[in-house]
């Protein structure tokens, strides 16, 4: 048999095969076109999902055949596109549901926080030490406050006025809350992300925050305004600072995944850690939203007495502890099947 006759035979085979399969492909094409609408709407039932998987397998067989019979052709390329679409439909994360969100908040985030607990304590210690250093620095060298505070703030304090006193006269509480909470969330995310610099970024941000806090208290103390500042900070500060420590610990975990990878490659280790500890940021954001409201409505209001601020500050801090330990939402576990 000549080469030309063989090629002609192969072409006939290919044409016959395409002819035999074209009707099925048209059906698959219609199903693929319906897929995006389905992914945005109702879920597949089990039987339909099984049919889809069977179709995916058949499509793979056809693609392999097309690659043999029609290499580099438009039909093969089109089948590859269809195969890719089916692959993306099958290989995807489950959709978010209220149950998944509840599980995340009640079980997964507390588990991550438990794992991060030693690091959180170390970060908190770093913040406390930095605050003490800031206090000592300004107490010893008062002129250095110009490195930390703006000239407007220094001027206010030197005239025995706290910069927080006129906040409510400048902007409404609601606007102030939104501005504060968005700023706090941005700071928290930055602290977390800075962990990629082998954890050094986290240490820098936490130490800087501690230093500024201690310095501000030392400076106001020198002018007899430390109680006023404490009064302002007390209601929202405990949770706000704790959240920074938690985000910092998550960032340290990121840095550690690069320094001491637990998977074959640093990239894989980093990816896995980021996906795992990144969930904590959701809890941080939720806590900071309430913090922002407290800081916008309660903290700058001079009519709120100290005792109320203490109750709010400590009370909210306890709620945070209950939330992050999983106890706050434990009641939702009632009626559920016990874990195997």
């Amino acid at each position: 048999m000549s080469a030309g006759a063989a090629a002609s035979g192969a072409q006939r085979d290919a044409a016959a095969w395409v002819k035999a399969r074209s009707a099925t492909w048209s059906e698959w094409l219609a199903a693929a076109r319906a897929a995006p609408a389905r992914s945005a709407g109702a879920q597949l039932d089990v039987a339909a999902a099984q049919r889809y998987v069977e179709q995916y397998r058949a499509l793979a067989r056809d693609l392999a055949t097309a690659r043999q019979l029609l290499p580099g052709s438009r039909t093969t390329a089109a089948l590859e596109a269809l195969y890719l679409q089916a692959h993306a439909q099958i290989d995807r994360a489950p959709r978010w549901s209220p149950t998944a969100l509840l599980t995340l908040l009640r079980d997964e985030i507390p588990a991550i926080v438990r794992a991060l607990r030693p690091t959180i304590l170390w970060i908190a210690a770093l913040m406390i030490v930095s605050a003490a250093a800031g206090w000592w620095l300004i107490s010893t060298y008062p002129n250095l406050i110009s490195l930390i505070a703006s000239s407007q703030m220094i001027d206010d304090v030197e005239h025995e006025r706290l910069w927080t006193q006129d906040l409510l006269n400048v902007v409404p509480s609601s606007v102030l809350s939104v501005a504060i909470l968005s700023n706090n969330i941005a700071v928290t995310l930055t602290v977390f992300c800075s962990g990629i610099f082998l954890g050094l970024g986290v240490c820098y941000f936490v130490a800087l925050n501690g230093l500024m806090l201690g310095a501000a208290f030392a400076f106001t103390h020198q002018h007899g305004l430390a109680m006023g500042l404490l009064k302002f900070v007390l209601a929202h500060g405990p949770v706000e600072l704790s959240v920074i420590c938690i985000a910092g610990a998550a960032g340290i975990a990121l840095g550690e995944s690069l320094l001491r990878p637990t998977l074959p490659s640093r990239r894989e280790s980093f990816e896995r850690t980021a996906r795992r500890v990144g969930r904590v940021l959701l809890a941080c954001a939720l806590l900071l939203v309430v913090c922002g409201c407290i800081e916008g409505f309660i903290s700058p209001d001079p009519r709120v007495p100290m005792s109320v601020r203490v109750v709010i500050g400590l009370g909210y801090w306890c709620v945070m502890l209950l939330f992050l330990s999983g106890r706050l939402l434990a009641w939702t576990r009632r009626g559920e099947d016990p874990a195997p």
Binding site: R61, Q68, R74, Q85, H87, D91, G278
Partner: protein
């Protein structure tokens, strides 16, 4: 059961494929490759998205300013102005990427325009968590300005990813090439791929020429059509193809694809 016929052709192609390819291990054993988007394509998609979000945010802002100016001013407008004008405009700018990536399952309008999409390393659609993590790391990628860190990462990493992609396990890939990779292309291919006496490759050539007909110059498409008809058209006609007009050539090419449908209809009627 996996693929009936081993995909040796694909494997051969994979071995010679450039490094910037994502090889997806299919769940059935049939692998497939996707081209990874480089820094240029990324920047192009980002610029489109950036222009869109700036335009929408500024549009909202100016519309709010006009409306506020028309309705009144004064202290009582301050809070309302912030909530109805400034905050939404800032939200549009800040949350454009995370919201659209989640809603459009890894494709923003800019990516769609640039022919790109986000996939996981296994070729699947990224989940909400992965997309949010990817966007959180924009804080680092965009530092110190103009996405310098992100761009540097794209240039330096083998798979052209920024830090956010590394954290989320995502890749920006080129969607299947337009000629036949799209579903519309498949539709066209399947349209002719039915009962035809033409070899599949020949039928595809005719189909492709018809698809590109309006985009080609008249002389060029005429020459291509005549060359194809000289090889493929076995029907006797009164005048040679060299003398046919542009419309006649187009009609004849269409007939060439549909003639066999007619043959089949005739065969069915006879049957």
């Amino acid at each position: 059961m996996t693929a009936a016929i081993p995909n040796s052709a694909a494997e051969t192609a994979a071995s010679s494929a450039p490094a910037e390819q994502l090889r997806i291990a299919g769940l059935t054993g049939v692998d497939i490759e996707l081209a990874i988007a480089g820094p240029g394509s990324r920047s192009y998609a980002f610029l489109i998205d950036w222009q869109l979000r700036v335009l929408i945010a500024l549009g909202w802002l100016f519309a709010g300013l006009l409306l506020t100016g028309a309705l009144g001013s004064g202290p009582r407008w301050h809070g309302q102005f912030m909530y109805t004008v400034v905050v939404p405009a800032v939200c549009i700018y800040v949350f454009y990427h995370p919201v659209l990536e989640v809603l459009m399952r890894g494709r923003t309008p800019g990516m769609r325009r640039a022919g790109l999409r986000l996939v996981t390393r296994s070729g699947g659609t990224p989940g909400t968590g992965a997309l949010l993590i990817r966007n959180v790391f924009r804080l680092i990628d965009s530092a110190p300005a103009f996405y310098l860190i992100g761009l540097l990462c794209c240039f330096l990493t083998e798979q052209r990813v920024r830090i956010g992609d590394m954290a989320a396990g995502t890749l920006l890939v080129v969607d299947r090439p337009a000629p036949a990779g799209t579903l519309a292309g498949l539709d066209g291919a399947l349209g002719h791929a039915g009962p035809t006496a033409l070899a599949p490759e020949a039928a595809e050539l005719v189909q492709e020429l018809l698809e590109r007909w309006s985009a080609l110059q008249i002389e060029r498409r005429g020459a291509l059509a005549r060359a194809l008809l000289a090889r493929l058209d076995r029907r006797e006609s009164g005048q040679p193809p060299e003398t046919w007009s542009d419309a006649q050539l187009h009609a004849r090419l269409r007939e060439l694809l549909s003639a066999d449908h007619a043959d089949e209809r005739g065969a069915n009627e006879r049957g």
